[in-house]
C-alpha cells in the first residue's frame, strides 16, 4: 500500500545557516527574544508504495542518500504516517 512519507532536511550542525540567522534576528526584532538556534531546511512529502512502514522508511532513506539530501551539508529525518 502507499504510505505517506515526510522527509525533513536540515543544514548540518556546525554549518553556517545564514537564512536561519536572518530569521532569528527578525524574530528578535519582533520581540521574540526567547527564540534561538533557528535552522532553515526543506520539507518533502511523498507517497511510497511499500509492504510496511519500515520498508517505506528504508526506501525513503535511500532516496535521501542518493538525491533528496546532500550528505556533505545536510542531515535528514524520515517519518512515515501511520
Amino acid at each position: 500500500m502507499p504510505y505517506k512519507v515526510h522527509v525533513r532536511i536540515v543544514p548540518r550542525a556546525g554549518l553556517l545557516d545564514p537564512q536561519g540567522q536572518a530569521v532569528e534576528h527578525a524574530l528578535g526584532a519582533l520581540g521574540f527574544a526567547e527564540a534561538s538556534n533557528v535552522r532553515i531546511g526543506k520539507a518533502i512529502e511523498l507517497a511510497i508504495e511499500a509492504k510496511s512502514p519500515a520498508d517505506a522508511k528504508a526506501r525513503a532513506s535511500v532516496m535521501c542518500d542518493k538525491l533528496l539530501a546532500n550528505p556533505v551539508t545536510e542531515d535528514y529525518l524520515v517519518e512515515v504516517e501511520s
Binding site: P11, L15, L16, P18, Q19, A22, L67, L68, N70, V72, T73
Partner: protein
C-alpha cells in the same frame, strides 16, 4: 584539433560563451545535449554555467542525473579532463567528481560583479598556461557559491595543492569582505590528478578582447598544452596525488 564537448542542460545559459571561448582558443568545440549519452570523441568536457533545472532541490542536484552524466563520469574517472564553471562546478560536486559542496552565499544575496583571483595551482588541465601567483580578474554571478567541506577534506585540499584559484582583493591583497563566505576564500579546486577542475568565477566571460578582458583565456588555451602528467609530477614532488 582538440575536440571539446560543451554539455548543455535545460537552464544552461553560459553555453555559448563557453563554446565561443573554447573555439577562440583554437579547439574544435561543439555542443552535446544532456539527453545524449555519448561525448562524440571528446578530448575535453566543459560543463557551462547557468541554472540547470532551475536549481530545483539544490544547484546541480538534478543535472547530475542527466543521461549524459554517466559518460562524463566514465570520461573523468579515466583521466579525461573536465572543467565545470559555476553551475558546472556545482554539478561536479553533486556528482562526487569533486569534494565538498556549494551552498547559499553567506549574505544570502546573489553576487554578480568582477572579482580578483590568485592562481594557486598550475598543474591542471585548465590552468597550466598561468603562473602560480598570477592575479586574474573575471566576473562571478551566483547565489550558491559558498564552498564548504568537512575539516578533513579542507585540510587535504590545502595540503595537496588542490585549491586552484582563491578570491583575493582587487589589488591582490586580502579580501576586504568575503565574496560568498567560501571556506579559505576558495574559488576553485581540482581532483588529485588535476584533470577535473571546478570554479565559480567565469573565465568564459573574460576570454575575448571584444569584451575588454582576456584574463580567462588561459583556462581554454591550457587545453592545448595538457599532457596529463600532473599526477606523476606531484607524486615525484611528494605532495600527494
Amino acid at each position: 584539433m582538440k575536440r571539446v564537448a560543451v554539455v548543455r542542460f535545460p537552464g544552461s545559459n553560459c553555453d555559448f560563451d563557453t563554446l565561443h571561448s573554447a573555439q577562440r582558443a583554437g579547439t574544435d568545440a561543439y555542443f552535446v545535449w544532456h539527453r545524449e549519452s555519448d561525448l562524440k570523441g571528446a578530448d575535453f568536457v566543459l560543463l557551462p554555467g547557468g541554472f540547470s533545472y532551475g536549481d530545483y532541490l539544490r544547484s546541480g542536484a538534478i543535472a547530475r542525473f542527466s543521461p549524459i552524466m554517466p559518460a562524463v563520469q566514465r570520461f573523468a574517472q579515466a583521466g579525461g579532463p573536465v572543467l565545470g564553471i559555476c553551475n558546472g562546478f556545482q554539478i561536479l560536486c553533486e556528482a562526487g567528481l569533486l569534494p565538498g559542496a556549494l551552498v547559499r552565499n553567506s549574505r544570502l544575496s546573489f553576487v554578480s560583479r568582477p572579482v580578483a583571483l590568485r592562481v594557486e595551482q598550475t598543474d591542471t588541465a585548465f590552468t597550466n598556461r598561468y603562473r602560480k601567483g598570477d592575479l586574474l580578474r573575471m566576473p562571478v554571478a551566483h547565489g550558491d557559491g559558498r564552498f564548504v567541506a568537512d575539516d578533513r577534506t579542507l585540510k587535504e585540499l590545502e595540503a595537496t595543492g588542490r585549491v586552484v584559484v582563491r578570491y583575493v582583493g582587487l589589488d591582490g591583497g586580502a579580501l576586504p569582505e568575503p565574496i560568498n563566505g567560501s571556506l579559505d576564500d576558495i574559488a576553485g579546486i581540482s581532483n588529485g590528478d588535476g584533470n577535473i577542475v571546478g570554479l565559480m568565477p567565469h573565465p568564459d566571460r573574460a576570454a575575448d578582447p571584444a569584451i575588454g578582458n582576456t584574463d580567462g583565456v588561459g583556462f581554454f588555451t591550457s587545453m592545448l598544452h595538457w599532457t596529463g602528467t600532473a599526477s606523476a609530477v606531484r607524486t615525484a614532488r611528494g605532495v600527494g596525488a
